[in-house]
Structures are given as C-alpha cells and as structure tokens.
C-alpha cells in the first residue's frame, strides 16, 4: 500500500527495456508491501532503473530518508509544507550511490524536518517500532531504521544532527553509523542545523555501513565543508581492536536514568572488549547534561534560519493571503508542525537581544569546551563507549526528550559514531562507540569486531 505514491515520470520505452528483473529488488518490494503499516515509507518506486556501476553496493536496494533530495521523487521532509514538492536534482550521496550501481528504492519517513527522536512527529503518519507497536521506533531517521529492520532495503541513508541515525538504530536493533562532519557531502540534504547535520547510513551489518560510507564520502566541490580525505572503511574493516584503548564513560553508564537492563548489558561488553585484545578503561566526560542545552540552543538557532526558506512562495504548500506577509504567515503556520514551530521560535528567542549572549554565544563557548574535553579524552584513549540510548524503546505515550543525551557530543564535535545492536532477548539495546574526527574506519572496525563477537554471545 503506497498511499502517498506520487508517481515518478513514467519510464520511457528505452528505460523500460533497461529496467531489469531483479530478485533482490522483488524481495524488498514484497517486504515493503508486507510491512505497509509500519509507516516507514512515504514513497517507493515499483520500477527499478538498471544501473551499470560495479562496486560493493552494486545491486543494493537503498532507501533514502525523505529530507535528502532524489531527482524525480517527492521530497516532503515529513512536512505538509512540502506536500507535492518534486525534487529536481540528486543529492551528492544519492548520485554517488547511483553511479556505484545501487538502486534507489524510495523515500523514508522521518520526524518533520529531522526534528525529534521519537518517530512520531512526521506530519504524514507515525512510524511503528517493528518489535512492539506501542513503542517508539526512535527518530528522526525513523523510516530508515524500520525499513532496514523489516528487510525492505539493503541499507538506508539517514541523517544525524543530534543522534537521529543512532537513536532509531538502537531502538530498532540495527546498525546506525554517523560519519565525521565533513566526511560526507551535505549537498542535497535539507538543512536543519548546518553546523551539526551529517548524512549517514543504517544497515543490518557494520560491513554494509562501511561499504555505503566508502561510496558516499569524499570531497565534493558542491559542499565547501567536505574534507579531502579518503576514509577506506571497507579496507580497514577487519583491523579489529587488539591493542586499542577503549574507555567506558562512567557518567553515561552510571547515569540515573539509564535503566538497569541497559546498564548491565552495556557493561557486560567490557569482557568482550578485553577478549578481543583491547585495553578497557573507565573515565568521566562530565558534560552530557550541558550538551543537551547546547544542542537545543544551537540547533534551534540554526534551524530558525535554515527553515526560513519554507514560505509557500517559490515551492511547497501555499496558503492564500491578501498580502505577501499573510501568505508567509499563513503558509508557515499551517504547513509547519508543532515541534518545528517550537524549535524555530526557540531559536529566534536564542538569537534575540535578551538571550543572544547567555544563550547562543554561551552555547557556542561551551561547544568549544566540549571539543576540548573530548580531545583530552582522545589523548588517552582511542574509542569512547556509552549506551546509545538510556533505555529500551519508550512507550509512544512517554517523553522522548532525553533519548539523545549520549548522542549529542558527537554532533557538537563532528566525531564519527556508531550504534551497534547488542544481542538481547527483549527489546533492542544499542552500544555506542565514538572515535576521533576522521577516524571513521577505526570506529567501523571496532563496531565490526563487537558485532562479530556478539553473534557468539549467549544473550
């Protein structure tokens, strides 16, 4: 059931010929239809286009979070204000995947404009946790996590501004990787907070995440913040973690609102790290609580600017008015959801005269303090470990405000971070690993080592 199927321009006869019968694609399509109530999809195509590229992602079926532009597919950002909008260009990450032979299957649901961590804030429909329908899937890359979990895609592109890849990955029991800021081009990613936004990947295995990251990363002349660094994720994937110094952050694991089951499961991986040859340490970060404030102040302030272009004038949904000001005011009031309005207004408040110095500027000062603290930790250790999320998936009636508490630091500092699912009998639990900036392959190879060790664990 594809209730939002806005059909892409019909394939020409030539393209129809080239469109191949693809077994993997058929399986994915069948799975999508079987899970049609999951809320994961906003749009999908039933006609895969043949691609020629040969690479580690050839033939892979990729879902794309619906805040990333795919040419000739709708782009809603989970918002009514972009209802009917058709994207006219490919995001660089999408272009690179197409050139490498991957098939772009469809657009995945998300919390509106990537604001939220519950999976319940899409203007179109909520996303359901595949393990338990009355629990959160996590967000904002909710559709990405669920589509990967229920097998309707090989991998999914997601975005992570404060934890939006890692949180849903943890709550849905899949791998979620947030690359370093500057590793993957943001060209084509609808900006939420330009200094925090990162394009990343979710999949069932760390290896697939590594393969996709290799393809999508690298300098892009269309994004001035990309670094000229080759990550070599697949090449280094099997390096393991023998000899690495791994540090569990005590103020995360011992935190009040971390549930006992998450705490004990996460701490039980100490022995796994040791068996794999790593040296295990415990230390304190000390800034988690303030990072929550930093994130809300900085992301909201940037969002108030980044979302100003959604005005009903040049594209998207327009409400009528006698004057241009009325068009702006009505289009935005009707087209933007509650959480988006909260953030945008809060952002404006943080940039106002009263709060500029103690809000926006202080958060920016503390951001540098956070980076300094993390650099200090990385002068002693190679990887930092926390639970990805303090609890298992909350009920949909609970609050999601503190779900990201352990994920914010990686965005503030631009660090690579992964959530790896731990083997459990009940609801999924994710383990978060953080690395130095641009040490993406190190984070992935550590994730791979844990993932392989977990397969052999008795949960």
């Amino acid at each position: 059931m594809n209730e939002f199927e806005k059909t892409a321009p019909a394939l020409t006869d030539k393209e129809n010929e080239a469109s191949e019968k693809n077994e993997i694609f058929d399986k994915c399509l069948a799975s999508t239809k079987a899970h049609c109530n999951s809320g994961a999809y906003l749009y999908y195509t039933e006609k895969p286009r043949k691609t020629d590229g040969k690479s580690a992602v050839s033939g892979d079926i990729i879902g794309v979070k619906d805040n990333i532009s795919v040419k000739d597919m709708p782009l809603t950002c989970g918002s009514k204000i972009l209802d009917g909008y058709m994207a006219s260009y490919d995001a660089t990450a999408v272009k690179r995947l197409k050139e490498a032979g991957a098939v772009i299957f469809g657009k995945l649901n998300l919390d509106e404009f990537a604001m939220g961590s519950s999976g319940l804030l899409s203007a179109y429909k909520p996303v359901k946790n595949p393990f338990c329908e009355d629990r959160m899937s996590g967000g904002s890359s909710s559709g990405s996590a669920v589509a990967v979990c229920n097998g309707s895609v090989t991998a999914a592109l997601g975005t992570d501004t404060g934890g939006s890849i890692r949180v849903p990955a943890a709550l849905c029991g899949v791998v979620g990787f947030k690359p370093s800021y500057g590793a993957v081009s943001r060209y084509g990613l609808t900006a939420h907070a330009s200094s925090l936004d990162t394009v990343g990947v979710l999949a069932k295995s760390v290896e697939k995440c590594a393969a996709v990251t290799d393809v999508i990363s690298g300098k892009d002349e269309l994004d001035g913040t990309t670094a000229d660094i080759a990550l070599h994720c697949l090449k280094n994937l099997k390096n393991g973690i023998a000899g690495k110094k791994v540090c569990f952050l005590k103020d995360a694991t011992n935190c009040d609102f971390v549930s006992d089951e998450v705490r004990s499961r996460v701490l039980s991986t100490c022995s796994v790290f040791e068996k794999l040859g790593a040296e295990v340490f415990f230390d304190t970060f000390g800034e988690f609580r303030k990072c929550v404030a930093d994130y809300y102040i900085i992301a909201s302030a940037e969002a108030s600017s980044c979302l100003a272009r959604f005005d009903g004038i040049k594209y998207g949904h327009r409400e009528n008015g006698q004057t241009v000001d009325e068009v702006y005011g009505n289009s935005r009031a009707n087209g933007l959801g509650k959480e988006v309005k909260r953030r945008v207004l809060f952002g404006s408040l943080m940039l106002s005269e009263e709060y500029y110095e103690k809000g926006f500027i202080n958060a920016a000062r503390h951001r540098r303090a956070v980076i300094d603290k993390l650099n200090g930790l990385f002068s002693k250790y190679d990887l930092l470990i926390t639970p990805t999320v303090p609890t298992v998936a909350p009920k949909t009636s609970d609050s999601a405000r503190m779900l990201d508490i352990f994920t914010y630091p990686a965005n503030l500092a631009g660090l690579p971070a992964i959530s790896v699912p731990l083997k459990v009998k009940g609801l999924p639990i994710g383990l978060q690993l953080l690395g130095r900036r641009f040490a993406d392959s190190e984070v992935l190879s550590a994730g791979e080592a844990i993932e392989k060790a977990e397969v052999n664990t008795d949960a």
């Binding site: 805040n67 532009s69 260009y89 084509g188 994004d223 001035g224 100003a308 272009r309």
Partner: protein, 220 residues
C-alpha cells in the same frame, strides 16, 4: 555655519562570469528565471561555494582603495523575509569584511581624503515586478546570487561635488581593473547616501538615509 556631512554605501555588481555562490551565468536582462539553480533559488538541500574570482576582485579593489586585507574573512547570514530573497537570508559579511581601513584622495573644489570603512562581499537578491493594474507582483530570480561588493565610506564628504568625484574615481578604478562596468542604469552601481546637517563645531546631526538612488542626478 551649517555643514553637510555625507557618507556613502556603494554597491557594485562584479563582472565575473558566474554568480557568487553557484555556477549560474552572471548576466543582465536574460529571459526570466533562466539563470537559476538549486543554490541561487534556495531549493532544499542546496549549498553555496564561493567564487574565487569574487575574492580576487574584492581584494584588488581593496588594495586600490588603500585598504587592509583580512587574512581570515567570514560570511554571515542576514535573515529577513522578502519575496526577492529565496533563502530568506542574504549571505553577506557583517563581522569580518574582507577589506577595511582604507582611504582614497578625491579632488572636487579642493582635495579631500575619504576614509573607506570597509568593503565586503555579498549576494544580490532577485527582481520584483509590480503590476500597475492587478494585486500581483512577479518574481524573477535571475539576479539572485549575483556577486556584489559593498563599499562603505566614513562620513567624510561635505559636498555633492565630492560625492560625484568619488563615484567617478570608483567607476574609473572598476573599469580599469576589470572589476565591474559600474552602469547605474543597469544596476551595477547603486548608491545609498547617508546625510546629516550640523553646525560646524557641534556634534553631527541626525542622519538621514536615502537608499538605492538610481542615477547620477538623484545622487547629486
């Protein structure tokens, strides 16, 4: 004795081949909305990348007007809602303009040193065409993203003649160094005049601003 105190904010459109932050052609009076791309139209997901030639011309002008050049210069967003501004912000330089603290000598009735407060890079907005007969305005985004330099002087002018002399000198520099064609009638040279009147010896009076003067006569 009454004295007129004048400062200028002059915008010049650069004659680069492409726009400031995208590779669309920088051309005057083409077919409406035919020189646009995701970046200059403010489509979701588009990003700006600075044109190297814009920096070169900005620094050239700065040096010719005796300015110091900033080693590290940044861009800022000026946020406001207006139909000719697709991103609802203009990319400009507020905190660290590329050129500052310059001066140039002009000759009108006598010689005068005019201090250049700053020169900064920014992007132009689109064009609005207001209907005479209907309640409608039409928007052409071709001009969005066209590179501008804004030259801000200190309030060192005392007569209209001096202002004219300065604009003529500026135009000469821009033509000679291939920076801009400075044609007021085509909008590649725009002048905002800040003027106040005071008793000589007393503090400066209230400043009045006259924005976007379209031709030489208006300026004078």
């Amino acid at each position: 004795m009454l004295e007129t105190v004048i400062g200028l904010e002059v915008h010049i459109e650069l004659n680069t081949k492409t726009k400031a932050f995208c590779s669309c052609r920088n051309e005057f009076a083409a077919v409406p909305n035919s020189l646009c791309c995701p970046t200059c139209m403010g489509l979701p997901g588009a990003l700006p990348v600075l044109n190297a030639e814009v920096v070169k011309k900005a620094v050239t002008l700065g040096l010719l007007l005796g300015c110091k050049i900033r080693r590290t210069s940044t861009f800022d967003r000026k946020n406001y809602f207006y139909p000719d501004l697709p991103k609802a912000y203009q990319i400009t330089q507020f905190y660290s303009p590329v050129c500052f603290d310059g001066e140039t000598v002009i000759t009108a009735d006598k010689e005068r040193t005019v201090r250049i407060k700053e020169i900064h890079i920014e992007e132009d907005a689109g064009k609005l065409i207001h209907s005479e007969t209907e309640n409608e305005t039409l928007i052409d985004y071709n001009r969005c993203g066209v590179p501008l330099l804004e030259i801000v002087t200190e309030p060192d002018f005392r007569t209209a003649k001096e202002v004219t002399a300065f604009l003529e000198k500026l135009r000469g520099i821009c033509l000679f160094s291939d920076i801009s064609d400075c044609k007021m009638q085509e909008g590649s040279l725009r002048v905002d005049v800040n003027l106040s009147v005071h008793e000589k010896g007393e503090p400066f009076g209230t400043r009045t601003e006259m924005k976007n003067l379209k031709d030489r006569k208006s300026v004078v």
